[in-house]
Subunit: 347 residues, 2 copies
């Protein structure tokens, strides 16, 4: 079971992609295909001892930049590393894709080449957050900015299956992100969504608030991609700001600096706990295949872990389980919002 | 110029309200009326040396609880401390209200008793956030969950005037919260809003992201109340979680504990920088009067500072300036969304 790595996508490509891939093959025995400029990749691979490692290089002549639009990237750059990586999956030459490139383009390429999972209207990007208790999966943090209730219901089902299968949570609790826990809170979207979620066969906890994400009150937090993106970037920004503010304070006196040095291990343990590299990437849920989106600034460790989780995603049959769960909750998950049905009703 | 304090609203009422009021009168010379159960308040006041301080008590027999619905609270509890406080403003016996109680009820009571500022469709609650550069005002963090573009435009104008008048920022930069900086990002609401904001006579910076709030990229961040509430509570939750995680790490070894003790001053300076009590409350913008909403868990210092900022809000003539700015940008700020106009166009 081979993982195709878009080796040209990230901010530090292809250096970290190659290093991470070599580490994944060596540590986990997962075969990897590096997709990108063959010359550049061979040159990078030469820096590593690859003897006996199942690593192959597959040529792609183009690269989707961080500022390319997702749809243009798919339509105009037909030989881009991200699109070619998904083509390898389509052709049965790989089982999953890992990319630290343009996440919108990765989502678009995945959908374009592999199509959607049956029963899913819009795929979502899910992100694992560290919490006081353990970890919480938040979705969508991707590009679904204007969602209908049914989109969020499908996100909830996909998130539940991923949490159960890959994160190893026995009976995941699902929460819907809102502006208060009471049923009287929420907006039009959450009120319609919560009414449907109550009828799905899983452990639905109702509304949760922003603070509950880091307290780990539930295992899966569902929201639209606009709100999810704000949550993701606010968290990154706040964590960085807190770090910088503390650092500035430590610089103010010799005693404080000494204290910092003594407590450094505690700081490093803390940093490790909140380090995205440990979680290895954000699964792209809802395409008919497996994609793992890593942070643009990923290091080799993040790429290595993304390859591991992509492998588990396939091994655990997550997509098959999602399709089953959608089927088991049919017709709740499809009947409410489909326009053709509404048109029929109106006509 | 007297400030009416809802002395029964907060989690620690009336202890911190009385203590904060006494401190505000003593330190800033601002006359205060404490509104609530007279017996209880006199009993609490007796703990302080109030000689020569201009503090009066005004009776209100009811209290709006944190779980009361805002509209019920106003309609059913006509003698509640929050409603009576606003009635004092209406009667000209006070110039501003401070409350650490149910924020939805405070907003509802303010609107019900004092009505809206001319040109404002929906009042908003604004919150000051500490940033790496200075401070950023975010609004709405209150109850406007499903907004129209015009609501956000009015929030932007109110925020700009508040930042200029009370926060002392000479030429505030305004940003619209979105899921990316590029114009191609955003949802239906932000796309329509940004088109209008470009024509307002202020320094509009376009879309900003979640991370930009703590970097202090702009002085005022505009969003709907659903997103703003998630931003507010996520920030509180993350800051608390980071504190707890660090504390746990420090407990792991003697050396780390020693380091923490030496660096304690740095930690305390940092805490002070992010302490909401320093900012004293969230201004309620858009009612025809002045209201300052303090955190439910406020301490006396937070109440004291809220009284100070409420006083400045009145002194600086913020409402008059907002009305002027709305007028100066007429008809952009009203013509786009008013249903009667749309109806006329359709008819």
């Amino acid at each position: 079971m081979r993982v195709a790595v878009d080796a040209m996508g990230g901010d530090n490509a292809p250096v970290v992609e190659v290093e991470g891939a070599v580490a994944a093959v060596r540590e986990f025995g997962i075969p990897v295909t590096l997709v990108g400029d063959t010359d550049r990749l061979r040159q990078e691979l030469a820096k590593h001892d690859c003897k006996g490692l199942d690593i192959v290089v597959h040529h792609a002549s183009e690269v989707v930049g961080m500022h390319d639009s997702p749809s243009d990237a798919v339509r105009k750059k037909k030989d881009s590393s991200i699109r070619v990586a998904f083509e390898l999956v389509k052709a049965g030459k790989a089982a999953a894709v890992v990319s630290a490139g343009n996440s919108g383009a990765t989502m678009a390429a995945g959908m374009f080449v592999l199509k959607r999972l049956p029963g899913i209207d819009r795929p979502a990007i899910a992100q694992v957050f560290p919490t006081l208790r353990d970890r919480t999966l938040v979705l969508d943090v991707g590009g679904n900015v204007d969602c209908k209730p049914l989109n969020l219901v499908q996100f909830a089902i996909m998130g539940e299956v991923y949490a159960r299968s890959v994160m190893g949570i026995a009976n995941p609790r699902i929460g819907l992100l809102s502006n208060g826990e009471e049923e009287s809170k929420g907006n039009d979207l959450t009120r319609e969504t919560t009414a449907i979620l109550k009828n799905i066969s899983f452990d639905y906890a109702g509304y949760v608030e922003g603070r509950d994400i880091f307290y780990g009150l539930v295992d899966v937090v569902v929201c639209d991609g606009f709100v999810g993106n704000v949550v993701l970037k606010l968290s990154e920004g706040l964590a960085e700001a807190v770090g910088k503010m503390l650092k500035d304070e430590f610089k103010q006196s010799f005693i404080a600096r000494l204290g910092y040095l003594l407590a450094r291990k505690a700081f490093n343990n803390f940093k490790k706990k909140v380090d995205y590299a440990e979680y290895g990437g954000a699964p792209l849920l809802g395409i008919n295949g497996v994609g793992m989106i890593s942070h643009g600034g990923s290091n080799a460790k993040a790429i290595k872990n993304a390859i591991r989780f992509a492998h588990e995603f396939v091994e655990k049959g997550v997509n098959e389980r999602m399709a089953e769960k959608l089927q088991a909750n049919y017709p709740i998950t499809v009947q409410q919002q489909r326009e053709p049905l509404q048109d029929q009703a109106a006509g």
